[in-house]
């Protein structure tokens, strides 16, 4: 439903268009079951980022503050991308396997 405005055609700047992020997508990641991290985390990632880089470098840098992170086996994790089951391929870039601007990646570890 459109917003009610004095004159037709009300609009303002759409602030978070993908072109405003210098080649990156915004990607949200969330480690399920670990609410010591209060919410999902926002990352600016170029779509060319390999999933391996996310799994091997980025996620550890974020989640190692949890003492339990060292025992996590991401290869055995369950993933969803934007609400659908997802089997990420380590060798592919995020953009090549369905990750878009403002996608949400959730994962469950044992």
């Amino acid at each position: 439903m459109p917003v009610v405005s004095l004159k037709p055609g009300y609009s303002g700047p759409v602030r978070d268009r993908v072109e405003n992020f210098h080649g990156a997508y915004l990607v949200y990641v969330h480690w399920e079951g670990h609410l010591n991290f209060c919410s999902a985390i926002t990352l600016p990632l170029p779509p060319t980022t390999p999933f391996a880089a996310l799994a091997d470098e980025i996620l550890p840098s974020l989640y190692q503050a949890d003492p339990g992170w060292s025992g996590v086996d991401l290869a055995a994790a369950r993933w969803t991308l934007d609400g659908e089951d997802w089997s990420p391929d380590r060798t592919l870039a995020l953009g090549e396997q369905g990750v878009g601007h403002k996608s949400l990646i959730r994962f469950w570890t044992a």
């Binding site: 759409v14 405003n20 209060c38 985390i41 503050a65």
Partner: protein, 510 residues
């Protein structure tokens, strides 16, 4: 000669709406261009009944007297080092959130009630709106003057207007008010005067001010209670204004109901920050958020909505969700601030045993199971010298802008993720309430200035945290991080040491 005396009502009529006249040289719609576009139909502005019949002579007299009393307390606090009388320096963090988050809203209310005082076609409502406009300026200025004294000794207060325009958690109150002021005059009236002032503001002021009293902050109590005396007038305006809209035309009912639904949820989400202050920042606690919600929403709101049922108004949508969440929200918001104390101009700290006992008692259904283990783990990490901080930036709700920490109503272990699409782009919200608000007016919320996204666009001083904090004007190492080890803690301990009788420190040192 025998003087004829007009009744209070007749006199008040001449002194307010009697000043107004029907324009004939300019068109009504050119003088009041914003009066009709929201679809609200008013057939008879004269049907508006002013609940309080306050003329300017009485206004000046009462307000001047209130101000004399208040400033006497403020002066006395400055002269007597009143900051030493508070229960604990941690208490001051509630005051910091207040001046960073609430005081600028008082200011915005001042400006926008001036907008109503100019642009509402009904003279009676314009008079009420302009009194509220300067009242709100009063609240803003008395808060600044009161807290000015604390600013001399405590951190995080020093640049509150700059921070309000920029800081991540302050975009929550700012976007709330921007949402109201960017709406039409009737939505603003419903949003602020009714949904916020009448239905929800008691939750902000009454427990908080009573908490200030309980924690030795006499200055805040004084400005708070003094402001509340105006607030009662504002609340009454809110109730009568909504009643007036509902009585004027049946077609107004669904419009007003939609606004009540929206603004109840907007206000409720905003107040979750207040819940966090109440449950975590007051060293001596008056009541829990859950108890306050029961007293000031469930009881008072219940009576209100039962009364409005005659017009076809029902309780706000998702009030049941708010009720179901009341054992969770304050803890979830505290977790946000604990996660990000390195990037905030307030301190957080580890919850001690006595506090855990209180929380367990107040939240028997939820606390021990869902939150206590988390806090104990954090405390252990801190005791091991590894205070937990979250190094990633949070995902924010597109509408309320709070980090998306709220959980599913029936599953406190799972975050509630909602997503909508508009013109091919995804928008994430924290709840059904915020999702509905987005989907009702997507053209508005796509504009939201989300602090985390702005950082990644490069609009906030740089790519590193220290650069962003500089841009926020956070004094790093003082305004931010845990209370433990802060300059404030050191200062407070020195003060408390200084308060012991002279013989004792010497004995203790041996």
């Amino acid at each position: 000669m025998v003087a004829r005396k007009l009744s209070l009502k007749q006199k008040y009529g001449h002194f307010t709406r009697g000043l107004d006249w029907e324009p004939s040289y300019q068109k009504q719609e050119d003088i009041f261009p914003f009066a009709t576009y929201e679809g609200i139909k008013i057939h008879d502005w004269n049907a508006w009944e002013d609940p309080f019949k306050l003329t300017m002579d009485a206004y000046w007299k009462f307000q001047a007297e209130k101000e004399r009393k208040l400033y006497a307390v403020i002066d006395s606090m400055a002269q007597n080092n009143g900051q030493l009388g508070i229960t604990d320096a941690r208490y001051l963090n509630a005051v910091k959130i207040f001046i960073q988050g609430v005081t600028p809203l008082e200011y915005q209310a001042h400006r926008h009630f001036a907008h109503l005082a100019r642009h509402l076609p009904g003279a009676g409502l314009r008079v009420a709106a302009q009194m509220q406009s300067i009242d709100e300026l009063r609240h803003c200025q008395t808060q600044i003057h009161t807290i000015s004294h604390y600013n001399k000794f405590f951190d995080g207060i020093h640049d509150f207007t700059h921070m309000h325009d920029r800081l991540w958690y302050l975009s929550v109150p700012k976007s709330f008010f921007d949402d109201a002021t960017s709406a039409g005059p009737f939505e603003f009236l419903t949003a602020i005067s009714f949904a916020f002032e009448y239905v929800l503001t008691n939750l902000l002021f009454v427990p908080f001010m009573s908490g200030a009293a309980y924690n030795g902050d006499m200055a805040t109590v004084t400005f708070g209670f003094s402001a509340q005396s105006d607030e009662s007038r504002h609340m009454t305006l809110g109730l009568e204004a909504v009643r007036f809209l509902l009585e004027q035309d049946e077609a107004n009912v669904p419009i007003v109901q939609g606004w009540i639904d929206k603004w109840f949820w907007r206000g409720y989400r905003l107040l979750s920050l207040v819940g966090m202050m109440m449950d975590y920042m007051l060293p001596k606690k008056v009541m829990s958020w859950s108890e306050a919600w029961e007293t000031y929403y469930e009881e008072a709101g219940g009576a209100l909505f039962a009364d409005l049922a005659r017009y076809g108004i029902r309780e706000p949508k998702y009030a049941d969700v708010a009720k179901a969440e009341k054992g969770h929200v304050s803890h979830q918001v505290w977790s946000i601030f604990y996660n990000y104390a390195q990037a905030a101009a307030v301190h957080t700290w580890d919850v001690d045993d006595q506090h855990l006992d209180w929380l367990r008692e107040k939240y028997p259904e939820t606390f021990a199971q869902h939150y206590e283990p988390r806090y104990r783990a954090w405390r252990e990490q801190a005791e091991a010298g590894k205070r937990f901080y979250n190094d990633g930036l949070p995902q924010l709700c597109q509408v309320c802008q709070i980090p998306m920490a709220f959980t599913e109503v029936d599953d406190p272990g799972t975050i509630s993720f909602r997503v909508s699409e508009h013109q091919g782009e995804k928008y994430h919200t924290c709840s059904d309430g915020c999702r509905d608000i987005f989907e009702h007016e997507p053209e508005k919320y796509v504009q939201a200035w989300l602090p985390v996204h702005q950082i990644f666009q490069g609009n906030c001083g740089g790519a590193t945290l220290p650069e962003v904090l500089d841009w926020y004007h956070i004094n790093q190492g003082a305004d931010n991080f845990d209370y433990a080890g802060s300059p404030e803690e050191e200062q407070w301990n020195a003060w408390m040491e200084g308060r012991r009788p002279a013989a004792f420190p010497a004995a203790a040192a041996e």
